[in-house]
Symmetry: C2
Subunit: 285 residues, 2 copies
Amino acid sequence: MVLDEQWFTEIDSDDSGYAMSLKIKEKLHEERTPYQLIEVYETQTFGTLLVIDGCVMLTSRDNFLYHEMMSHPALFTHPAPKRVVIIGGGDCGTLREVLRHPGIEHVLQVEIDERVTRLSERFFPELCTANTDPRAEFHFDDGIAWMREAPAGSVDVIIVDSTDPFGPAEGLFGRDFYGNCARALGNEGLLVQQSESPLLHLEILQSMHREMHAAGLGHRRILNFPQPTYPSGWWCATLAGKHAGALEPRWEGIDTTALDLRYYNAAIHRGALACANFMDDALKR
Amino acid sequence: MVLDEQWFTEIDSDDSGYAMSLKIKEKLHEERTPYQLIEVYETQTFGTLLVIDGCVMLTSRDNFLYHEMMSHPALFTHPAPKRVVIIGGGDCGTLREVLRHPGIEHVLQVEIDERVTRLSERFFPELCTANTDPRAEFHFDDGIAWMREAPAGSVDVIIVDSTDPFGPAEGLFGRDFYGNCARALGNEGLLVQQSESPLLHLEILQSMHREMHAAGLGHRRILNFPQPTYPSGWWCATLAGKHAGALEPRWEGIDTTALDLRYYNAAIHRGALACANFMDDALKR
């Protein structure tokens, strides 16, 4: 069967042979910024949909999976996270999750395209409820350049919540950037970065781990989670640190009772760290 | 963008607003049996694709996820599984996984449509390598009727590897069938059944668990796993038994070194049992 114009379709890439489609009620917005093409749709069953350069960024219905997994595992791993930097993250969903943690003192979000944040405030207000938190600071600029200037040891957790490794985000997957992250992080510091689909993009994952290793982030673990509106529905993030102990979660300290979460709990955290045999083989950790 | 005729598309259901597509090289086979319409395609990147009544059954590339998770967790949970019955499973991938376990003495596969198995032998020979194992017995008949006549306490593990709960498979999700399974299982017996997408089909999962409970399968656990070519890419199976201890895996007994698996290991097993908060809330286990 051929889908008609009532569907938004994302083809993962020219040669992946995989596509995902959501039925659309109406297009709410379209705008070309200096960085990218942004579209917002109202879908039939997934709520509001944000698309950048043809790729699904998030839907109202399932973004909780990604945003919870980009924030809580890292924050329950670092021994005492206080200073967080989010690179990208313009929709503010990750920021909201980070600020659920009372121990956080300051979150700087460095997003290159201010329009993503302004449109998120308009179309996804539920993701932006923490934007006025006095601990949140917004810096609309290039995260790669920002990290180059970041003072050594000034950050506890860096969260790279970016688009795929093409276009403006490409440099966020390279050795220079990781080296600057390693410098900005203290010895207990952690980097967590979205790292694509284990089934479809294993080569990107391998490349990221090689570059991280070469840049001084000698230890890495993968967090697997479902993300139905991303290609294959199976996504992962990579946690990276300077020593193995830095990646060991504070199991006894995981208390989510006050956090009001829909996906994450301690068992989910432990489960997310389990990797398929083929991934262990490919990454030889 | 609109996909052209070079793509096979499955719309999850009329009102789900979600579709997944695979790019096709050619259609290899099409046949209408007394039970269903079967199609086989060669895809661009997912190998061979089996479709029944418009729904993806499996691809060469990612079926290992489903087949490993439908078999190994249950077989590493029952204390000493020897007698297995597979209801459905016509592609023989689950059968192959079960027969990797040397302790298994007999597997009866009750598949209603012999043509599924014959076509799998032709188009998916790698899934049928255990079909000539002397421990395997094939019975091409209605699994619902077969279970009605099964002797009490005659089966250790029942694996329901069926299509979705519509058409010929509908009765496999109801109280009468579960009651007959409960009778056929011994006190330590286990039922494992594919139970759809936690995100898209939570109501089916809730209904299954209610019916199982009412039929004497008083304890249930969910196994989550990725399955990229099923709707949402996030799938699950339900394990059901008569007492809580029957669902506790033999953690110390999980040895997969001789099994040659691509996904399953003890950590994956443990992780699969972790459920999202929203699932725990919905199922009130």
